[in-house]
Amino acid sequence: MKKILVVEDDNILSKAIVVSLTEAGFRVVVAKDGETALKKVKVSKPDLVLLDLIMPKMSGEEFLETMRKLPPLRNIPVIISTVKYDDASITRCTALGIQGYLIKAHYSLSEIIEKIRSVLDGAAQKTEKRSIKSATSKNKKRR
């Protein structure tokens, strides 16, 4: 059973994700801010982190940067799930190494799970920018 660390400061959204992931058969660990997330990622060593960017205490980008510097955590796949959509943060996160950049409102829960699964399936493979690109193109999907 794969372990997912959900970093999300919004309780309601976090609840929906947790419910959905649990139903899909994942073990879920939740953190409400970057600092907590950093502690939990060290302790629970998740298979994947679903990371929000706008958070109190430590932002998602800072968390990602710190995590990528820590050798044991460096290779944990990270999928960004955020409402923040601008070229600057996409560029920054991509540079730090991410497996997906999802705009929350544009993706349904099932699509997020599908994305997580596909990333975990290909976890053995190296981080590939191409996949990120194709994933992010979906960010604009509407209706």
């Binding site: 409402v83 070229d87 560029t91 193109s137």
Partner: protein, 704 residues
Amino acid sequence: MKKLINSPKALLLVNPYLFGSFFIVALLSTAFLFTFAFTGAVSGLHYITTIIPVYNRVFHLTDDFIYYDETLTMSALAGAYSGDPLWEERYNSFDHELTADIHEIQAYMDDQTDRDLLQHLVDANDALVVMERQSFELTHAGNLVEAQAIFKSAGYLGGKVAYRDGANDLIASMRKKQDILFRSGERVALGILTALLILLPIVCSFWVLVSLLIRKQRHRIEQMNSRLKESEVRLLQAQRTARLGNWEWDIVHGHDYWCVVTYEILGLDPQKTAASYDEFLKTVALSDKRAVVQALDRARKNRQPYDIDFRIIHANGEELVVNAKATVLYDERGEAVKMVGTIQDITERKKLESRLRESEQKYLTLVQRSNDGIIVVQNNIIKFFNTAMLKMLDYRRSEVIGMPFYNFVSAEQRDMAVKTHAARMKGESAKERYNLQIVSKSGTLTPVEINASIIDFEGAPATLAIVRDISKFIELDRLKSEFVATASHQLRTPLTAIKWFIELILKQKNGLKPKLRSYLLQIYSSNERLISTVNDLLTASHIQTGRKFIITKHPELLGTVLKSAISDTIGLAREHAVKIKCIHKNSSKKVVSVDREKIIEAIRNILDNAIKYSKKGSTITLNCSEADGSVIISIKDHGIGIPENQQGHIFEQFFRADNVATQQPGTGLGLYIAKQIIEGHGGRVWFASKVGIGTTFYISLPIT
């Protein structure tokens, strides 16, 4: 004659020297002629009145000598033969008459010869008289025979012959004299006549010439006079029109002269008012009197020019503004003796000037008080600017005027600004409204909006630019965009919550009542639309701020890009029962350098519109072609079309055409975003549309 007068030669004659010499010759010859004629007349008269009667008398007297000789002889003879004493009485009376005659003729004798001749005659007579008296004495004595014998004596007869000869000699001498006199008189008369005959035509012709010249001269003078009169009238008219009068003031004698117009300006009647300095001063407005007097004094004493504007009170009570100018004439001692000047009514001009000044002031105020900078540029040189402009630049006035305008434009935009100005000056189409950054003295950049137009400035074309500081607008715009961005972020979280929880509900295995399920789907669909709107707002605000709108190009296959865009819109197409047909052709295999996500968004936005406004069951056709190093994507629909009067606006933010605003939901941002993205790639987007038939959008993108 007329011809002669009008000929150049005749004109030469009118030369005063020539005329003078002709006149003198004519005068002299006339004088000569008259003297001649007078002399002739006098001598003629003398001849008639003196010489002829004298000679007549002389001849008469000499004739008498013959007669008296006979009479005396006869009387003496008769006495001797008759012895009648009566004959002696008669003889005495005849002898007495003869003696009187001799005395008379002696008076006419101017010549010794004649006198001698006369003496001979008198002597002969005396001898005869002695013998005749002897005969009378003999008769008295009664000795008649002896008395008669005397007459027969040789002495008497000899005396008689001597007397006759003497008388004849005298007569002959007289005749001779008369002849000579008469002959010389004839010659003189002939000479005078000839001279008169020769002189007269000469004198006449000279006088004709002189009179012709005089006539010519008189004609000229008349012409000159009439011209003078005409020009005087004209001058008066001109002076009246210009309201310009002239005047003279004889300072020494106090004799003033004002022309008619001067009188008219002062409102005085020449018949009632004599021109004088005092009368003039009376008309000057009280407040200006001092200045006028001082100016006159200064002109007279200090030789300063007299040129002054002042007010006068016209006789009708009206206040007029006049200008007076004068020249002062000085005598050899340097004393002012005379002032010659003009006076002009400049009331109208003053009024116009003041109106012009007011209006100029008004416009100057408008320009100077304007909060926008106003600047005039000619051949790149700043010719004029207002206060606001100077304030924006923060330079000193002298550092701006006459300087090239591009000195004050940010380095990156300098070329563009110069080219735009040059194009406008050449009459080519140039941007009228554009944004620039101007550089102040301290180096601060101020964003401004330029609104330029072409004007005529000092006789040459120039650019008039209204320069508006838009830093506040830009700041406001930035704040607005940031607000929109923040708001959109804030909105996304609850929208996501709604989306996800509906999803969770819909996934409930226990199943939902179909009605409830359909309601939830309605909520989901509305939420999706809201998410889409927020998304558009955010993209638009990113485009505006430019900060979060970065185009990162990567090579992509055109076909793949198009497929992605189409697949994103399949749901919407299904909803509207519209088919999308894609004619790939070879161009779809072209590689284009694009920001994949953004270009897909642009194409999708155009496709969305095509779908939304298409007729049900119609087909949208995507086509690709290649031209001039670009690929052209066309998206053709059979929709409602864009009204012609709104075609110019459809790429504007929040613009929605009249015929769609009420039919379909939308933000009016889709095409704006598409255009910004395409242009950000160096491409172009345009369209052709007909209401009721459909619209075709074209996107051109450069091929890598």
